[in-house]
Amino acid sequence: MVTNTAEASSVFTRTLRLGDSGPDVLLLQQKLNADIDTRVAEYGPGSPGNETERFGQLTRAAVIRFQEKYAEKILVPIGLSSGTGVVGEATRRVLDIQTSEAPNTEPVTTTPATPIAPTTPAQAPSEMPATTATETAKKDIYISFPSSYYGPRGSKLTLAGSGFTKTKNTLHFGQNYTISDISSGNGTSLTVTIPDDAPHGKHVIWIENANGKSLNESFYVVTKENTSVPTITSVTPESGLYGETITVRGTNFAPKGNEILTNYHIIKDVSSPDGKTLTFSVTPFPDIPQLQVGVDLKRGIEAKMTFYIVNENGVSNKEKPGTFTIKI
């Protein structure tokens, strides 16, 4: 049974891609899961009955399989040979057609009343991931490695990354402070001197230019003159379960607002009334669903946690992070 697009009213009204979320993503996963060939996941989040509203890598992979299964209708008309993972107009139309299809059926063989995909190249970018589309247009902007994460006014800061323009890059320090007209000779690094009026404290930083806004953020702490960075001298206990209270001793902790950057998650707003001691608890890592409380791993595992203290005084020693072994 094949329906044409005139019979199938579209339930997808926007282009969906990695990072998107919403009820239409959940519906997309349900549609993909209706066919064993394009199933999002066999179990866990995204699997049949466990669809989510988050367009993550599993969804993207399933969309690619869907596009390649129906390549003749989705990809070929716009000159592509492999799936992109972006749910554009052509993909949406074929998804609509599949609404009334039985699972795991053969690809659509009839021509819908309305063409599935436009043949004009101008429509192609809607199916293309940003990284492909930008090869001929705007480039994605990323900040990869800052030369330092802290320093006083007058310090030089070099950002390595990509998508920087030769001129007119703007570096944002939070919402209220910017450094404008920064040049980048090679498009992959730029250097600024922290101005004398830059506000003290920790700032989220990002780049904006003619290509748009950077896809990720970093941070920088503008320290006061003659401050000393936080140091970690001991961590007790050395290991424990989720919920364990960890005590860190050291120097130059801030009375409040310390952040602990671990290799699993970030813990914010930790106080240290005496400036020498702070405590925090280990909680399940929010970004790793397989390591939550109650998940049956069939065996215990030990995960080494490495962390740094970040506050108004800077960042603790790069080569001497605190460590703690979590037993899960």
């Binding site: 990695l18 199933r39 999002v40 996941a41 066999e42 179990y43 866990g44 993550g56 890598q57 599993l58 992979a61 990284t131 090869e135 994605d140 990323y142 900040i143 990869s144 490695f145 800052p146 994460y149 390595a160 990354g161 990509s162 090679n186 498009g187 992959t188 690094s189 896809l215 990720n216 970093s218 941070f219 950057l261 671990t262 290799n263 699993y264 998650h265 970030i266 970004d287 790793i288 669903p289 397989q290 390591l291 998940v295 049956d296 791993l297 069939k298 595992i301 030990e302 995960a303 080494k304 490495t306 740094y308 970040v310 960042v315 790069k318 080569e319 992070p321």
Partner: protein, 126 residues
């Protein structure tokens, strides 16, 4: 490949250091034929724990997008932040590896995403 060139140019110093470190480490630790390191780098956008493999599957963005397997204990350079989502990473990997999950009575089964390779060592941003 062309998209990789700017990446290489941007990080040629870091890559050179890592390659040199790999060679030195390889002299002591690895057999010569185990030096299969290929450069990779990008933003960690998702982390999945492979429950059977006891390793993390890192989904990484451009410039070398893909999934890479990271075993706890794999050598890291500062800031030692793998496998946290949101950090930038740069290092070497060897092709191969598998992400397996416990699936009840079925035992260990391959996860829906499989790695491009296994990380040999890496550095990260904060």
């Amino acid at each position: 490949m062309s998209s990789f060139l700017p990446f290489f140019r941007a990080y040629r110093l870091s890559i050179s250091i890592i390659l040199a470190a790999c060679l030195i480490a390889g002299t002591f630790v690895y057999k010569a034929d185990a030096l299969t390191g290929l450069p990779f780098g990008g933003l960690v956008v998702a982390t999945t724990y492979c429950t059977c493999t006891n390793a993390f599957l890192l989904t990484i963005s451009t410039p070398t997008p893909g999934n890479y397997l990271y075993f706890p204990g794999t050598p890291q350079f500062s800031y030692y932040q793998l496998p946290r989502v949101g950090v930038w990473t740069l290092g070497l990997y060897a092709p191969g590896g598998a992400c397996l999950m416990f699936a009840g009575k079925a035992g260990c089964v391959p996860y829906a995403l499989q790695p491009s390779g296994t990380i040999e060592f890496a550095g990260t941003s904060l």
